[in-house]
Amino acid sequence: MSARHLISIDDVDRAGIERILDRAESFAEVSGREIKKVPALRGRTIVNLFYEASTRTSSSFELAAKRLSADVVSVRSVGSSVDKGESLKDTIQTLSAYDPAAIVIRSPHVGAARLVAGWCDAAVINAGDGKHEHPTQALLDVYTLRRALGSLDGVSIWIVGDVLHSRVARSNILAFKRMGAEVTVTGPPTLIPRGIEALGCAVQPTIERLGEADVVYVLRMQHERMRESFIPSLREYAACYQISTTRLAPRQLLMHPGPVNRGIELSADAIDSPQALIGEQVKAGVAVRMAVLYELLAGTPALAAVA
């Protein structure tokens, strides 16, 4: 893995994560100014290539690039030549003609970002590749928790829900572990991938011991990725795994990567409770993505190969 790209959380060690988060803190300060812009990437071109629906990731990457004064081109699969059957490789070769400094890619397919890195000279940032990884989500979640708790060392984090279909779960398990947290995953046994403990997390079949958690990280039920019947019904899912204020202790922090299925994985009262960091996560998105772009394109490389 090259330090030029951010494709997996495995591309960045603990010191690298901390450097990115420290820089994100200073960029958060920029976002509080009246003129929310610094000239760090003036004259550089950044392509956002989104093959999947996205609101917060695509808009926060776009905003992050603009606040760094880069020129941004956003390409979505709908209405582009991708719609006409152009292969990923041909699309990348076409976009390479614009000499982009970075390509931010989201794809429904595992490994798409890594392939792109092999096909062009740009720095590649993985904004989600299938069920594989979503490293900037993990970084902004670590950033949010670090702000709330100071440190993740020894913190018990439970990830609840549809782990099978979740790229967020994979990146977050790796990132939370790297920052010193203990991670437990739980969810319907049909939605917990066989072999997940190899990532260094514990597996629980029920939320019976949820009280042990300091942080409860709830995943989105991804109906859009489910082609078969993994659970009997959303009603039964909610009965067994929905996180509500009655199932949370007041000291526990609540997170969710969004978008939330209100009333399925989270109850409405939990979403709006003061212990929920969901709004903080969204706010962190721009600053953390500014820091990632800056690290790859302007700063000294903090993304060290550890894999």
């Binding site: 292969s87 990923l88 392939l115 299938g130 994979r170 066989r194 072999g195 190899a198």
Partner: protein, 448 residues
């Protein structure tokens, strides 16, 4: 009696190979010999330096090289008819010859499928014009590989089909398979099975385990194969039918096959070089060359396959040579078609990874790489006077990088690409004729 292997017309070899180390495990032969081939037939095996050069032939220096019975491969995809951009009879058999193979059996999952006499007859005719090494063909069990209606198996047998398979997919319906096995009493021929329960493997793209969990790729559990091996062994035993299990990949399948053999079922099995040498760990690279079906599995599975090959529970090696064009494989892992090429690397990969590592004896490897034709009632290559020359000569000391000099296959999706392997095939004789000769192999005294 109809021919069952087809090849273009070739000049019979006239050749003396001096001082080559002949290893034919079935003949208990393992020593240096002068090997004389006249009119495409093994004429004499003499002490090194004892045989005179033939008056009208060539003399090659075999010292430091090994001669094995020609390798055979009961499982290849030659993509003809219909997908000639991946492979043709010419390029596929050239790849086979370059890998030391002297006979092949091609699978029927072409476009159109080999499911009727007209397609098979035309294919046999083409092979009779283009193939560099003899090729035999399997026809499909069900029409269009649809799993619902039997093909005209008796007529297909009469037109040359060695047997039947729906390879590429399983015969999911036990009732359908049972009918095919009953019908085998009329038409003969082996029924070869790709074992995979689609209800268990649905949408899977790699082995289900820690690596698939890490990558977020949908897994193909090993039980999707082994439960079908067990099911179909039971049906084969009930019908006293002959069944061959293709490309077995996991420990549970080995256990099921051993139990079926123990119980007296007429079953056999094959394993592929990639399953015998690689594990799902390499899939971490997300290189689509490592995507095949069945998938690369765990180290425990790999070891069980090697042990089964050694003990004979698995009868033979088959490559499942499955060429795909570059543009088809240069896509994200989940979108790439399944399959790796294997003919050019099979021997070197197994020699390097199993023999040099001490996991398998060379003699056992040669035995298993030459056993596949017998499963289809065809002759096994032998190095003995009076036998047609089916021989491969190998320089075991040569180390080479896979793909560095290109491929003879039309496709380059080889899972051993860029690996450095030991053992290079330098000469292949197939049914009496030279099918492949490395450029480095110079004659030492061509007479006449």
């Amino acid at each position: 009696m109809i021919a069952r292997l087809y090849r273009r017309p070739c000049e019979p070899a006239e050749l003396l190979i001096r001082g080559v180390h002949v290893l034919d495990p079935r003949a208990d032969l393992d020593e240096a010999r002068d090997l004389l081939i006249r009119g495409g037939v093994v004429a004499e095996l003499g002490a090194p330096g004892s045989l005179p050069a033939p008056a009208d032939g060539e003399v090659l220096d075999g010292s430091g090289r090994h001669a094995f019975p020609g390798l055979v491969d009961p499982h290849v995809h030659l993509r003809t008819p219909g997908q000639e951009y991946k492979e043709t009879l010419e390029t596929g058999t050239a790849a086979a010859a370059a890998g030391g193979f002297c006979a092949l059996i091609a699978m029927p999952n072409t476009a159109p499928v080999v499911d009727q006499a007209s397609v098979l007859t035309s294919l046999c005719d083409s092979a009779g014009r283009e193939a560099r090494v003899p090729v035999g063909f399997l026809a499909s069990i069900t029409r269009g590989l649809g799993g619902e209606e039997l093909t005209e198996m008796a007529e297909l047998r009469d037109c040359g089909a060695l047997g039947f398979t729906d390879d590429g997919r399983a015969v999911a319906s036990a009732g359908m398979l049972r009918k095919a096995l009953q019908y085998q009493r009329l038409c003969g021929g082996v029924i070869a099975l790709h074992e995979e329960d689609p209800a268990l493997s649905a949408n899977g793209v790699m082995h289900e385990g820690a690596v698939s969990a890490r990558l977020g790729l949908t897994g193909i559990p090993s039980i999707s194969e082994s439960t079908m091996v067990a099911r179909d062994s039971a049906i084969a035993r009930y019908e006293d039918a002959r069944v061959h299990f293709q490309h077995l990949s996991c420990v549970e399948s080995v256990t099921a096959l051993a139990a079926a053999k123990q119980a007296g079922a007429r079953v056999s099995g094959e394993a592929c070089p990639h399953h015998l040498t690689l594990t799902d760990d390499v899939v971490r690279t997300l290189d689509s060359r490592f995507k095949m079906n069945p998938p690369l599995r765990s180290e425990d599975d790999r070891r069980a396959l090697v042990e089964a090959l050694r003990s004979g529970v698995i009868d033979c090696v088959a490559t499942d040579h499955a060429p795909h064009a570059r543009h088809e494989k240069e896509v994200p892992f989940e979108q790439a078609p399944m399959g790796t090429t294997g003919l050019e690397t099979a021997f070197a990969a197994l020699y390097t990874e199993l023999v040099l590592s001490g996991e398998l004896e060379l003699g056992v490897l040669i035995e298993r790489m030459t056993a596949g034709m017998a499963l289809y009632d065809l002759a096994t290559p032998r190095i003995a006077p009076g036998e047609p020359a089916n021989i491969c000569v190998v320089d075991l000391g040569a180390r080479w990088e896979v793909g560095a000099g290109g491929y003879a296959s039309r496709s380059e999706n080889c899972c051993f690409h860029a690996r450095k392997l030991h053992g290079r095939v330098i000469l292949t004789l197939a049914d009496g004729a030279v099918a492949f000769r490395a450029r480095m192999l110079a004659g030492v005294g061509a007479v006449a």
